[in-house]
């Protein structure tokens, strides 16, 4: 596939919640290219999670359509995996079983499942914690498990809903670096939602800035900072401050 090919295409998408007649977005258009990391940046409550849930087919649209690989999304697919802001681990499953969860549901042979579980637990740095329950782990460790669970499926598309949004600043930066490292090993199409400008610049090849509700596309920015990246190398890059100031202005000023 060539690098410019569109994997996800959101066309005039409209979503309302009947409770309170809330319009979350109305006629939203966007396209996610193959193997790019697209960050979606917007203020809290603007509808980022809702957009991601519709892209995954977890909730239906009220208008327009979303295509993945030219097929209309109506339910979650096996080649798309999601990482949740709330981690979404099963408290009664040990780390190992949580990571194996998607693979078991996909019906992969046990040998494949075991091999992948081990590989991805290693990759996210959870070796030694296979037999722990989520409640015994810190938030950062829990999200490592959430990440391993999604990566283990080796999906074509990763949907990340503010995966580090509930972590403390230090842990958050460590995990951002880990994800940059993993992304470098296995580049894949990724939609990464965040309300942090720094995170959007660090993680994204492009940044889609959304307005407050009803969410509209304020601007689509190219992040011209080369990979491989680390959080430090991004912050030190001369393009970082201009990009950050630009995003700040977009988020702060009301749309013209």
């Amino acid at each position: 596939m060539n690098a410019q090919q569109t994997r996800i295409s959101v066309e005039r998408a409209t979503k309302r919640f009947s409770a309170g007649g809330l319009t979350v977005f109305d006629g939203l258009d966007l396209a996610v290219r193959d193997k790019e990391a697209l960050c979606i940046l917007g203020p809290s409550g603007c509808g980022k999670t809702t957009l991601l849930r519709t892209m995954h087919g977890l909730i239906p649209l009220d208008g327009g359509r979303i295509l993945i690989d030219d097929a209309v999304v109506s339910a979650p697919r096996r080649n798309v995996a999601m990482v949740f802001q709330h981690f979404g681990l099963m408290p009664w499953k040990r780390v190992r079983e949580n990571v194996a969860y998607g693979l078991e549901l996909a019906g992969l042979p046990k040998a494949t499942t075991d091999e992948r579980v081990e590989r991805y637990i290693e990759m996210v740095g959870l070796r030694g914690f296979e037999r722990s329950y989520p409640s015994q782990l810190s938030g950062g460790m829990q999200q490592r498990a959430g990440l391993a669970r999604a990566l283990a499926l080796e999906p074509d598309i990763l949907l990340m809903d503010e995966p580090f949004g509930s972590l403390d600043a230090l842990t958050r930066e460590i995990l951002q670096d880990e994800l940059l490292r993993i992304y470098q090993l296995m580049p894949r199409t990724m939609v990464f939602i965040t309300h942090s400008i720094e995170e959007a610049i660090a993680m994204g090849d492009r940044i889609l800035v959304l307005s407050a509700r009803p969410a509209r596309v304020r601007e689509l920015l190219q992040v011209d900072i080369p990979r491989p990246r680390t959080v430090d190398s991004v912050i030190a890059h001369p393009r970082f401050l201009p990009l950050r100031d630009h995003c700040w202005r977009l988020l702060r000023e009301p749309a013209a």
Binding site: P76, G88, M90, K93, G102, L105, Y133, S135, Q136, L153
Partner: protein
């Protein structure tokens, strides 16, 4: 797939719904206080009880002696085998009925609407008032109506707690399961049943206490047998020392069975005790 918010409110304040317990291990100091308190009460009772009312407050040493008398003459063993048949039969019925109806009504609105009025009505009527009807319903004054009485007392905490457990399943986890393409069967085994288990076990602990009450009351009203018979017959002849023996047996059985369920919870829901 999930229930709308309006439904969740309805049952929130049912007094019978216990919260799932967190496994708490007692420390040696706790045991010392517990045993000390029991010893103190028994000591006060032993030495001052008889001075208050010689007839009713028989000292623990008399009850202890009565216990061995009833063991020796076989009355206690006979009564216990009768009573336990009713207790375990009734609890088994309550468990099956409570689980099936609790799961079904927690999951499907139709079943909930179908059984909720009846459950609310039966739960509001003091169960004791229904016991005299049971021999008529079963055309019997044997074990079946007494087993039914135990089940009647015990079923509601199991049913209501299971229903709550199924209904309180974390919606976010239901969505995670859908996100990973769960099947309906795996949704039950991965999410709904584990999440309802602590509620169910809390219900079983309540059911044991209520089942024991149901057992004794049923033995008073239906046929006069078992431990209930021992209580009534020795009370009638003012052998209060002997009357206390079945009372203490019932209390001990209750404590042991609830402790067993607590232990079971640590075994089948180990993630709860690992919580920090």
């Amino acid at each position: 797939m999930t229930f709308d918010q309006a439904r969740v409110k309805l049952e929130e304040s049912r007094p019978m719904t216990a919260h799932p317990s967190r496994w708490r291990r007692l420390r040696p100091g706790d045991w010392a206080v517990r045993l000390g308190a029991i010893a103190l009460i028994l000591g006060v009772w032993e030495f001052f009880g008889p001075t208050l009312n010689k007839l009713i407050l028989r000292p623990p040493s008399d009850i202890f002696r009565a216990f061995f008398e009833l063991v020796a003459n076989g009355e206690l063993a006979e009564a216990m085998s009768q009573s336990f048949r009713e207790l375990f039969g009734g609890l088994a019925v309550a468990l099956v009925v409570g689980l099936v109806l609790g799961i079904a009504s927690g999951r499907w609105r139709f079943v909930y609407n179908a059984i909720d009025p009846l459950v609310s009505a039966l739960y509001s009527v003091p169960a004791v008032a229904l016991i005299p009807l049971l021999p008529v319903a079963f055309h019997s004054i044997g074990d079946p109506p007494r087993i039914a009485a135990v089940a009647l007392f015990a079923v509601f905490p199991i049913l209501i707690n299971t229903q709550q457990g199924v209904r309180n399943v974390d919606r976010q986890l239901l969505e995670v399961a859908r996100s990973f393409n769960t099947s309906e069967r795996r949704l039950w085994t991965d999410v709904i049943i584990p999440s309802a288990t602590p509620y169910l076990l809390a219900g079983v602990r309540l059911a044991i206490g209520r089942g024991l009450i149901g057992m004794i009351v049923a033995e008073f009203f239906i046929g006069l047998v078992g431990l209930g018979y021992l209580i009534i017959s020795y009370e009638n002849v003012f052998r209060i020392d002997r009357m206390f023996v079945p009372v203490i047996v019932v209390a001990t059985v209750g404590v042991l069975m609830m402790g067993f369920v607590q232990w079971l919870e640590g075994r089948i829901a180990p993630w709860l005790k690992k919580e920090q």
